[in-house]
Structures are given as structure tokens and as C-alpha cells.
Symmetry: C3
Subunit: 336 residues, 3 copies
């Protein structure tokens, strides 16, 4: 069902020069290694030059400097990765947008749904919530009270917006995500914990993406905030009153504890954590599974953890780690 | 839509003395830094004394010793944090409890639902399950077979109780949580894995709270148990046959592997893990992203991990970690 | 409601010899420590010999060498753990399989459902998808476009298959799992991120098991692949274009980043991570919360991390870790 393009038509569509005249037809996209004669690839990293030389692809998007190494016609590009994405968009075939309210959906009488929006099967929309023009609410989503789903947002399926969640335009939310649940606030009192009411909401800026089974709690006082173009992968946990700056991207299973503030243009690696109430400035990269234990005031790359070793060597190093302070002359304490 | 209170009325409601006569009206709650003249704040930690001195708040809840530093009237409190929570409860406006079974819900004929309980839209209740007085089952929840939802429990939305899950009174479960799925039990046999039937259930005590997308597996033999007033944040994983003592609180993304036993009044930090079959005594604190690799027999605070460093320094330290045993005189092994 | 068996009948059913003539009746299964006179246990690990000697169980499955220590009749087995699982299967009482489409379900007219399959309440099945013979689709599941659910698959409840997800026979998926969501692919462009279309799908082999709230993204080009008999626990994250070999088992909260390749017969511990584009060969064990930072070419056990310590000792060791390179003679860099 995907379209076929002649390479000439693609070149014209993308406004990119071709390295040679050709009659090649492109029916799919692939990596250099897996491509066949009907496939288009891209070459952006010189590390893959051997794969480029050996590729069976029908054509490749690459910089001019790679033409000599390519065994096939080249679409010459100053940014092959981005131009490959532009081709991929031509080969994508998303389901068309829909409009209207599915008869199995439940919409509270005080909620409003734009006629151009779609409310899918088994969806529930709560009191005083608003679904704006072109928004697509897929099967099984639950929208609670006092929420706003902005224009052209997409909630793929089984997304929950609990309470006071406001999505700006074009926010994309994947299945299982939960936005606006109670922040984790407790104070001790006689006989156990007392829950702190969570009076705030969640504000999500334009063009944000929120991954499958990611959770973003609403604020205790004031909102939890994602600025525009924040990109969250799957299974991320964002605590209450966190603030994340624009263009920051976080990889799967990372987490930010309550009231921390992450700057703009940060990259947070998979499984990394940021403790509560910290500040991370703009332009910081955190490597995978690192724990941010203090505020960061200079852009750059930060890490914690120790390297992977075979288990036997690791056991020895780990024992030495416990002895480090004593071995290096510190005052000794009883160990666990 | 939130209520306005005169400060005098709040003082009377909370039974707290005021530092000065005042006509202030309170329309919201805020932090010392963000508050405006209609807001009430609290001051509990002397570290925030500068913020107290500069606050624009209309009033503050604080100990008597802070009155001189406050630029506004003070509600004098021996426990400002707890009294602030009491005010927050007055400013909260939860949706009122409902009763009855929504027409789009599916209730098995062998299940029972108390007339004062609410079964919301798109809910499914399985064979022989029981929903008790005042319980609120929000949109999209699935209750499987042989479950009990105790009096005044709240399942906010899209919660799943799979099989043999018994919730005592006033348990609060957030969206996406899954209780009672199969524990992860496998034995090797010729040709692959053989699954171990999970014959137990899950028992949750009174006043527990279970966060969004948290998972609690049912026991293999006997139950997985949360005692009363256990508080679990989002995306926590509790393995089969785990036992957690009362008042223990666990932060987001932490995990406890099968058959481990956590005591009462423990605090488990975000992303921390406890290996299977271990015992952790009462009163233990585990810091964020630590891994508990042995049983703990004394109350106190425990940690693992290494501190965050700039990536270049960290790479050097990490190399040294691999060399530690050799550098410190150990018998050398080949490294990975 | 569970069956009672005489021990003689169980011995005959399992084809195992009994250590002594007996009239015992078995009404349940338990551990050596918790068993009463109506319970059957197993003994497989000599570490538990004291518990065996003291058990109040009615009978035990154990190797012949344990008969002298058992205070009760023994079902003599060369593989007590596996034979115990066989008994547990006799004591399990799963709900019977169902057939047909529940009236509250929504099935797209272009989808096909085998008459022997079951589509439960509040389920949605999208365009061109196919549900094959005997498959059980529990309450609240969402099946998107172009998916295949193979024969005798079980989707317990609230499972989402987003797009181009193909499950082979007898795949078991627990609640909240999301398969086939967009992989996390972004390229920078002027003004922010541009999303990479995810044109592939997800392929899952026979007899795989996928835990609650686990997420498996679909491929960017080509599929994300689980070979047959892969077993995934809860809250696991599998990135796009990952390939996992047969019989590999992963414990809760572990994660594999995009395009990594995990071999067959691997065991990945809880909370462990594998970075993108790495290769892990067959027969590798990764211990809990380790991070795989380089490809692994030899079978064996691998670890990272440092041991748990009391917090005071840990703080000293952690400081020393930061000083390691300097203390051991390296060229010093400014520290964070």
C-alpha cells in the first residue's frame, strides 16, 4: 500500500540534485545493510563508509563527498538525515483524521467538543473539559475534569488526563500515558501519613510528544510545566511542579522528582534520574542511568555509575570500593 | 471556583492564633516566592528565612519564632506543614462521590455492587467480585474475577485488578495501575520455559495509595501483601509474594523483586531496587537509585552508586574503578 | 473451589513414586515454612534442609536423597521444581475460554475475527486487523490498524497494539502493555525537533509473554522483533528495531535502547539497561541494575554498580571515587 516513486520524482519533490541520470524506482526505505534494489538509504556518518560501498540499495541520500563511494545513484544533500526524514514522511501512511463523537463515548454535558475533533470509541470526557479543533481522541482515552485538549492534538489510545491538564496545539500523547494524577505529597501525622491535596494542574506546550506509559503528575501549588517542543520517550516519570524547558528530550525510563527544574535543549539519557528541587541549566546532557544529585550550572555532559565488567572482576572492584576510604587513609567507620 | 476565606475565619477554623489583627482575605495557596497578596504560604524550614522576609504573601503559617521576620500576618502553628495541609483540604474541590452503575459498564451477574458504590463508564466487573459501600470505580477500570474493592476505595480511572485482589477500606489507586497480574515465575524445561501458575492474590490494607502505572503482581503461593497506610508513587514494580509493612512509602520507579520483605516505616527512594527474597527491617531509608543487594537488619540510611561528575572526569574515575583491585594489590583477572 | 487430590492420585497423575503408603489428601500448595497438613511442598535446594526437617506439610516433592529428612510422605522426583509446577497446573482454575464479540466492542468492518476467538467488553479492533482462532481479547483492549493476533493468544485486559503488531501463536500479554507505539526518533532542524516517521512494526514469536505496563516500540525501518519463547516481566521498555533472541528472559523495569540486539538464552536482571546499537551474544546474564555500555561477545555474567553501604560510609567512598584518578596519579581535571 505504500507509494512508489521514481528517483527523479523524489529528487524534484525534495529539490535535491542527483549524481547521475537514472530510471530507478523507489518502493521503500531501509538501512544501508538491509536495503535491496528498490530501497532508498541515507549516509550521514563516515563510520558507515564500508556499508555504503557494499550497499545493494537502489539509491542513497548522501553528501556530495560520498558520491565516489556509492555504488548507486546519490541524492546529494547537505543534511542527509533530515532529507531522509522528509522522504519517510512521503512513505508514511497514517490513518486519516476523523471528526465527530463515537456513539460509545461518554461526554459530560458541561464539556465541549469542537465539531472538527474526533472522540473515538469507549472514550470518556469529564466535566468542564474542552476538546478543540481537529483534536483526535483515540479509543479508550479518559479525559477528566477541567482539561483542555488543544487544536490538532493526538491522543492515540488509552491516554488518561486526570484533572486540570492543559495541552497546547499539536501535542502527541501515546497509549497508557497518565497526565495530571496526584503528585506524591505526604506529611507525617500521628498514626500515619496525611495526604497533601494537589491543587495545581499540568501545562504542556505546543508540539510536545509524550511516550507510552509515561506519567506526569499535576502540581501541588501551581502547575507542572512542559514548555514547547519537549520530547518524552516511554515510561518516564515527571513529579509534581517540575518545569522542563523547550526542546529538551528525555529517553525511556528517565525520571525527574518533584519541583526540579530542567533547562532548555537538554538531553536526558535512558533511565537517568534527577532528584527533587534541583536546577539543571540549559544545554546539559546526562548519560544513561546517571543520577543527578546536585544542581548543574554549566552546560556540558555529566555522568555517574561505573563501567560494566565481568562479574568476577566486578566483585573484586566492588569490595575495593567499600574499602576505598580506609585504603586511602580516611578515618574508618563500621561498614554495613 | 475555589472558596475565599478571611484570615480570621481560617484562624478560627484551624484553631490557630493570629500574630496581629487583620482584614486580609485568602483566595489561594502558594509558595513563599510565588505568592501574591491574596495567597497564604507556610514557613517550616529555617533555610527559607530569606524567602519569608521577601514574600508578598497575604499571610503565612509559621512558628511563633518567625513572626518577627514575616512581612505579613502569621497564623502561629507548632506544625506549619501539617496545618498548611489542613488549609489545602479546605481549598480542594474534588468531584462529589457518585452512586449507581453507568449504563455502559459491564457487571458480571455473579458480581455484587453495593447500591452506594459507583461503577463509571466503560467499566467491567468480573465473576464473583464485590464492590463495597461508597467505592468509586472511575472510567475504563477493569475488575477481574474474585476481587474485593473495600468501602470508600477510589479507583480513579483505567485501573486493572486482574485476579484475587482484595482492597481494604479507603484504598486510592491511580490510573494505569495493574494489581494482581501473573507473577514472573518460570522454570526451564526441555525446549524452553514453563510458566509457574500463580495461585495467590494481592492483599492491600486500609488507607494505602497506589500510584499511576504502578504494578503489583499476585503471589505464586499465598498473597502479595501491603499492610495498612503503605504509600506507593508512580511506576513502581512490586513482585509476587512481596510483603510491605505499614506506613512505608516508596518513591517513583522503585521496585521490589519477588518474595522480599520490607519492614514498616521505611522510605524507599526513587528508582531504588530491592533484590528478591531479601529482608529489610523497620525504619530503613534507601536513597534514590540504590540497589539493596543484601538483607538489612539495622534501621538507618543506606546508599549505593557513585556521584555525578562531568563526563571527562567520570571517564577517568571509571577507568580507575576497573583497575582498583590491581592497583590495590589484588590478584589480577582478565577484564572485559 | 480448588480441587482436592489424594496423594496416591497425584502420584499416579504425575507418574512419580511415593516414599511410603499413605492416606493423605492434598487441598493446596505452600512453601515448606507455611504449609499445613493439607498442603504439598517441594524441596529442591539443599539450603532449605532445615525447613524440610521442620515442615508441617502433608507431603513434599523431593529427590530420593531427601526422604530420610522429610517428616512426611515424599513424591520422589528427579526435578522437584518442574514437577511442582505440574501439580500447580492441576490446582489452577483459570476462567474458561470464551468465543464471540461482546456487544460493547467496536470491530472495524475491514477487520476479521475468527468465530472461535473472543472479543471482550469495551474492546476496539481497527482497520485490516485479524484476530485468529481461539484468541482471547480481554476487557478494554485496543487493537489498532494492520495487526495480527495469532491463534490462542491471550490479551488479558487493557492491552494496546498500536500499529503493525504481529503476534504469533499463544502469546500472553498482561494489562497495560503497549506494543507498536512510535519509536523515539527525532532529528534536529531549525526551530526544534522533527519527528522521524516510524514505518516498521513489531513481530512477536510463539509462546512469548509480555508483562504488565511493558512497552515495545515499533521499528523505524523494519520491525522490532522478539523471537519465540521470550519472556518479559513488567514495566520493561524495548526500543525500536531491537531484536531479542529465543528463550531470553528479562526481569522487571529493565530496558533495551533502539537497534540493540540481544542473543538467545540471555537473562537480563531487574532494572538493567542496554544502550542502543549494541550486540549482546547468546547466553549472557546481566545482574540487576547494571548498564551494558559496550557489546558483549562472550557468554557469562556481567555487572556494574557499587555495593550498598550505610550512608555515612558510602559518602566517604563516593568522595574517594571522585578523587580516584588524582590519588592514583592521573592528570587532574577540574571536577564538577
Amino acid at each position: 500500500m505504500r507509494p512508489n516513486w521514481t528517483l527523479n520524482a523524489l529528487a524534484e519533490q525534495l529539490q535535491l540534485p542527483l549524481s547521475a541520470a537514472t530510471e530507478v524506482t523507489i518502493s521503500g526505505l531501509a538501512t544501508l545493510e538491509q536495503a535491496g534494489p528498490g530501497d532508498l538509504c541515507f549516509f550521514a556518518n563516515t563510520r558507515y563508509r564500508p556499508q555504503l560501498r557494499q550497499t545493494a540499495a537502489g539509491a542513497v541520500i548522501a553528501p556530495e563527498s560520498a558520491v565516489a563511494d556509492a555504488p548507486c545513484p546519490v541524492l546529494i544533500s547537505a543534511n542527509p538525515q533530515l532529507d531522509f526524514v522528509r522522504v519517510a514522511e512521503l512513505f508514511d501512511s497514517p490513518e486519516p483524521a476523523q471528526a465527530g463523537v463515537h456513539p460509545s463515548a461518554e461526554v459530560d454535558p458541561t464539556a465541549s467538543v469542537d465539531p472538527s475533533a474526533w472522540i473515538g470509541p469507549q472514550v470518556s470526557v469529564g466535566p468542564r473539559s474542552r476538546v478543540e479543533a481537529g483534536a483526535q481522541i483515540g479509543p479508550g482515552c479518559v479525559i477528566g475534569a477541567d482539561c483542555v485538549v488543544g487544536p490538532d492534538c493526538q491522543l492515540i489510545a488509552r491516554v488518561t488526563l486526570v484533572l486540570r491538564v492543559r495541552l497546547a496545539a499539536r501535542v502527541l500523547v501515546h497509549p497508557g500515558a497518565v497526565l495530571g494524577a496526584d503528585g506524591f505529597g505526604l506529611v507525617p501525622q500521628a498514626g500515619g501519613w496525611r495526604k497533601v491535596p494537589q491543587l495545581g494542574g499540568v501545562t504542556v506546550g505546543e508540539d510536545c510528544e509524550i511516550g507510552a506509559n509515561t506519567t506526569i503528575d499535576r502540581g501541588a501549588l501551581g502547575d507542572t510545566v512542559l514548555e514547547r517542543d519537549v520530547r518524552l520517550d516511554n515510561q518516564i516519570q515527571i513529579g509534581h511542579n517540575v518545569h522542563i524547558g523547550e526542546h529538551t528530550a528525555m529517553a525511556g525510563c528517565s525520571a525527574v522528582a518533584g519541583s526540579a527544574r530542567i533547562g532548555a535543549n537538554c538531553l536526558i539519557g535512558g533511565g537517568a534520574g534527577v532528584l527533587g528541587h534541583l536546577q539543571v541549566c540549559d544545554g546539559v546532557t546526562i548519560t544513561a542511568m546517571s543520577l543527578v544529585t546536585h544542581s548543574i550550572k554549566s552546560p556540558g555532559e555529566y555522568s555517574s555509575g561505573v563501567p560494566l565488567m565481568d562479574n568476577r572482576s566486578w566483585r573484586r572492584a566492588a569490595v575495593r570500593f567499600k574499602q576505598l576510604d580506609k585504603l586511602l587513609g580516611g578515618k574508618q567507620d563500621k561498614e554495613t
